[in-house]
Amino acid sequence: MNELIALALTVILVMLAAAYARRFGIGKEISLSGTRSIVQILILASIILVLFKLPLYWSLIVLLTMVAIAGHTTYTRSGKLDKVFPAAIFSIASASLLMLVPFFLFGIFPLEPQYLIPTGSILIGNTMNVSSLAIDRYRGEIKNRRNEVEAYLALGAGPKVAASACLKQGILSALIPSIDNMKNLGLVWIPGVMTGMLLAGASPFTAASIQIAIFTSIFAADLMASNLLLHYSTSSFFTGAAQLREDLE
């Protein structure tokens, strides 16, 4: 019963928000993305419901699908540079997986779809966001600092050296929101996992411990994924003869 009320409220809110947003010319967009999100999350709920009953490898398939979609999103942010798609998939997948393992290895969570899917998707979603920010900034830095990059190349430096200052800036600016979030954890906001657990009746201490574990894992995964991605993307900005490409968008 509760869930029906919550859904009805959501629909009403989306309609109201869309009606209000019409004056900014984004009414249609809001109603569309609002509807999309409701439908998607309901589909997700049904999938999870089914997954709970299926063998574990099905959950892995779902996570891999998420990784593929996340990789594609990041790839689009890069200006569709070749090689960035596989690089994004690889970096998001390996960073998320690596940070996922300890939770189940040390028995923080039982290895069941009910735990695997939400934790996995939190990690994948976060690494995707940070990777997109990082590659977008990296590309922007390389474009804006063409002269510096080419001055390095003209000395006989390779792309890695020539772009290293840009890479650093890309990673730094992508991680700033995460660092700020970490600083303000518990001050400005109660993060999602803790909120959920509290709402579901867990003790505040349990909720806080799980939250901080997930939080630091997210940060470590972000750091790792953005580093891997930018590292493997560098050559996409250059030609085979170590020339900075002229067609960077």
Binding site: N147, E150, L153, A154, L155, G156, A241, Q243, L244
Partner: protein
């Protein structure tokens, strides 16, 4: 007669400009030829936008020619490892770009890349960089000082050829004169081959080298 050091044959290069969302092809260099002997200095003049910078960028392969061939010591530059080619063919840009860090660190880039044992003090002396500037932040130097750092940084690679893209045009008259003297002295002392772009005919004459004019994508000798 000295042996041929650098030879451009039939070199062409077009660029695409975006005009109202369509790409318009413009031929910048068309069947350009140039021969430079070892130790020779040539100057190239031409109105802005005529393709002088484009030409230099082809020689150290920062950009690729559409057709034709460029030979260094009788070997096509495409057969060189691009990094080694750029070590041999140094470049000084119109607007000096220094890297973050001290002057010292800027001068050491080449050494790090190539493992050379350069004497930084000698390098600084050759390029008229006061020793007290060596530890200064490179980004805070004047444009003229930056240009000297860039020249020294290029020389640290121990190049055979130096490409100079209007090396004095961003400077005030006094600094410009200093850089000009510096470059002419370096050439005398080190026997460097130089391709020097300038928009200043008087400067071109002062260098005493062969003078070319870039017009309609080709080089014409300037006899004026």
């Amino acid at each position: 007669m000295n042996p041929v050091h650098l030879e451009l044959k039939n070199v062409s290069r077009a660029v695409f400009r975006r005009v109202n969302k369509t790409r318009v092809k413009t031929q910048i260099l068309s069947s350009l030829d140039l021969i430079v002997q070892r130790g020779e200095l040539v100057t190239i003049m031409g109105p802005s936008g005529s393709g002088k910078t484009t030409l230099l960028r082809l020689i150290n392969r920062l950009a690729e020619a559409d057709s034709g061939s460029i030979m260094l010591n009788g070997k096509d530059i495409k057969e060189y490892d691009p990094f080694e080619l750029r070590r041999k063919v140094g470049m000084v840009f119109q607007i000096p770009v220094v890297f973050r860090g001290s002057v010292n660190e800027n001068l050491a880039v080449g050494m790090k890349l190539w493992g050379y044992e350069n004497d930084i003090y000698a390098l600084a002396r050759d390029c008229v960089i006061p020793l007290e500037l060596l530890n200064a932040d490179a980004e805070q130097l004047s444009v003229g000082e930056k240009q000297r750092v860039c020249i020294a940084r290029a020389l640290a690679n121990q190049p055979e050829v130096l490409l100079l893209d209007e090396p004095t045009s961003a400077l005030d008259a006094a600094s410009a004169e200093k850089i000009e003297t510096l470059l002419l002295n370096l050439r005398k002392e080190k026997g460097l081959t130089m391709v020097w772009i300038t928009h200043d005919r008087e400067q071109a004459k002062r260098t005493g080298g062969k003078r070319y004019f870039l017009r309609n994508g080709r080089l014409e000798e300037d006899h004026e």
